[in-house]
């Protein structure tokens, strides 16, 4: 069952094209991440669904109903603003109750609904406080409860974690995902942080320059990026102008390619390499090592090209200037606006080992 459908949306701000023929559909009950760099048009899409912006052309459906001409208040949505936009002079209770009082619900109904939501967000004892008396994470949860209070069909969240410090952010991500699933509500959140999108969303829609580049489950996008942009944007990557210089890839057309750190196997000695060692193993010089918490990042230069890979903490440490063995499992090669996965020749031809 489709909850939200966006059809051929276009939107300009002056000369700037914020949405370029955007179309997608979202199933009911899914938590969707709209991911893209800043200026890619993701927030504009969210604001158009909410009715805070009007598209130049195209149609928007919520719950099967065309909403283009409906004001935001009648679209059945809840909106969480990036800055939360809590009403400063109202208590937590009054903030959460606002949407219900506008609908002229009875006092007892309002009271029970607000108490229920305050319980949900874990701020039951804070309902008489003012927003400025709360921490960033608490404010975000109040904004969340306020958006949920009138029972919207669809929850829209604009960069919900942007204003929160790193540690609290981690907790809130998990909490938000659980809570949204528990409520069974459809939700779309905007983010520029791929870790956040991958961790929180059921599905990701990647936007770039006003267009939708790719959509799908996080793992699917990670493993098979359809366009060069997605390949570069998702995951850590090093771009090489011509990947045919590397052993095992020399039989292809000379093209641009992308290498992820996890595509590289870096060994200090032959023993550390896959046995038997493939003939397409390269030798390189270590140019730098960086402690990255759970792994060590090693920058290796091969044929004047600096590549990036990871090694475990328990492995023999490498130092700047050391020689290292490098095996490249695969490369994302670009073919126009498509991406293809190219495997090392050694992996296809099982026979080619030393």
């Amino acid at each position: 069952m489709i909850e939200v459908e966006v059809k051929n949306i276009n939107k300009h701000f002056g000369n700037f094209k914020a949405s370029d023929n955007v179309s997608f559909a979202i199933e009911r009950g899914k938590l969707i991440g709209l991911l893209g760099p800043s200026g890619s048009g993701k927030t504009t899409i969210l604001r158009m669904i909410a009715g805070l912006e009007t598209p130049d052309s195209g149609e928007i459906f919520i719950g099967g109903r065309k909403v283009n001409d409906l004001p935001p208040g009648e679209r059945g949505i809840g909106f969480l603003f990036q800055s939360y936009a809590l009403f400063k002079h109202m208590t937590v209770f009054d903030n959460i109750a606002f949407g219900l009082t506008v609908q002229k619900k009875s006092d007892s109904e309002i009271k029970s609904r607000v108490e229920e939501l305050a319980e949900l967000i874990g701020l039951k004892d804070f309902t008489s406080r003012y927003p400025l008396q709360l921490s960033g994470g608490q404010r975000q949860r109040v904004a969340f409860a306020r958006a949920l209070a009138p029972n919207p069909e669809l929850l829209l969240l604009d960069e919900p974690f942007a204003a929160i410090d790193a540690k609290v952010r981690q907790e809130l991500r998990g909490w938000l995902k659980q809570t949204i699933h528990k409520l069974g509500i459809t939700a779309i959140f905007v983010t520029h942080d791929q870790d956040e999108a991958v961790e929180v969303a059921d599905e990701i829609i990647i936007t770039n320059r006003g267009r939708v580049e790719q959509s799908g489950a996080p793992i699917e996008i990670y493993q098979s990026p359809k366009t060069p942009f997605v390949a570069k944007f998702i995951g850590e990557s090093v771009q090489v102008p011509d990947y045919t210089i590397f052993k095992g890839f020399d039989e292809y057309e000379p093209r641009e390619g992308i290498l992820r750190p996890e595509f590289l196997e870096i060994g200090a000695t032959i023993d550390e390499m896959p046995q038997p060692m493939p003939v397409t193993t390269e030798r390189g010089i270590v140019r730098g090592t960086y402690f990255r918490g759970s792994v060590i990042q090693v920058d290796v230069e091969i044929k004047e090209q600096l590549l990036k890979g990871f090694r475990g903490l328990e492995q023999v440490p490498l130092h700047e200037g050391d020689e290292a063995f490098v095996f490249i499992h695969k490369i994302y090669g670009f073919d126009g606006d498509k991406t293809q996965v190219i495997e090392n020749a050694a992996k296809r031809k099982e026979s080619v080992f030393i």
Partner: protein, 268 residues
């Protein structure tokens, strides 16, 4: 040096007003205040002030809302236009209204026909007062509303609140101190306006004289003590206005500080 400058320039005139006003005794002082023409001038001053402030409050709220909540072309121009009365001498402003409604105006025969007196009458005084105080409230509200942004209002709109509800419950509590401040400044200027009102009033004693004009007449009649007695009333009003001004400013600051303080405590 600063203190002696302020003492000579600001405090001595105040002391002098009190001294001169009481120079012929308390009885004379109250007689001057309760004089028929003085009372009538007081009523007219209050009437003109209340009306001008009310009109400018409506205008100030509407124009500030328009200038901060919407984008349209000509916005900067409209903003400067509203400030225009600051650049125009009150006497010239009064002249505008004479030109518009006086004997040389094309409207004059029409006004005569319907027996409407505008200049040299109360409506003219109110018009001139509105003109000179035109920018006050808008100028106080616009920066505050600008810094508040639009997102609280947008949030209210996504929850289905209508314009009046948004204004009353979301915007007004955020701007109440600035609005109060603007109203106080506007009242001060309206109470004391002399040049513009002097031009349009026609100085008809007991009819179109405001308190400042009444002072001028008394003074020019060499009735100095009475002039200072009436002036002392305006001095008192001015002091009240200054006190109000400071109270509002402090209340606005305090509400900000208290919430910041609590915000600091609440960090978890």
């Amino acid at each position: 040096m600063a203190a002696s400058f302020l003492f000579v320039m600001l405090i001595m005139p105040l002391i002098l007003v009190a001294k001169e006003a009481l120079s012929k005794g308390v009885d004379f002082y109250f007689a001057a205040l309760t004089d028929e023409f003085a009372l009538k001038a007081l009523y007219l001053t209050i009437e003109a002030t209340i009306l001008a402030v009310a009109l400018n409050t409506i205008f100030g709220l509407a124009s500030a809302w328009l200038l901060t909540k919407f984008d349209f072309c000509g916005k900067t121009f409209l903003g400067s236009l509203i400030d225009l009365p600051f650049a125009i001498s009150p006497v010239v402003a009064g002249l505008f209204f004479i030109m518009l409604f006086g004997r040389m105006s094309p409207l004059y025969p029409l006004l005569q026909e319907y027996n409407l007196a505008i200049v040299f009458a109360v409506p003219g005084i109110i018009l001139a007062t509105v003109f000179v105080t035109f920018p006050f409230i808008t100028r106080e509200l616009v920066p505050v509303m600008e810094s508040q942004g639009r997102s609280e209002e947008e949030a209210a709109a996504t929850m289905g609140a209508n314009g009046w509800t948004i204004f009353r419950r979301v915007t007004l509590p955020n701007i109440k101190w600035a609005l109060g401040y603007g109203i106080v400044l506007c009242s001060a200027r309206a109470l004391g306006e002399f040049g513009a009102v002097s031009v349009v009033s026609g100085h008809i004693r007991g009819k179109t004289n405001t308190l400042p004009l009444h002072i001028e007449i008394l003074y020019n009649e060499y009735n100095f003590t009475a002039a200072f007695a009436v002036a002392s009333v305006l001095v008192l009003l001015a002091i009240i206005i200054l006190i109000l001004r400071n109270l509002i400013e402090n209340a606005g600051k305090a509400s900000l500080q208290v919430s910041n303080l609590k915000a600091g405590v609440a960090n978890d």
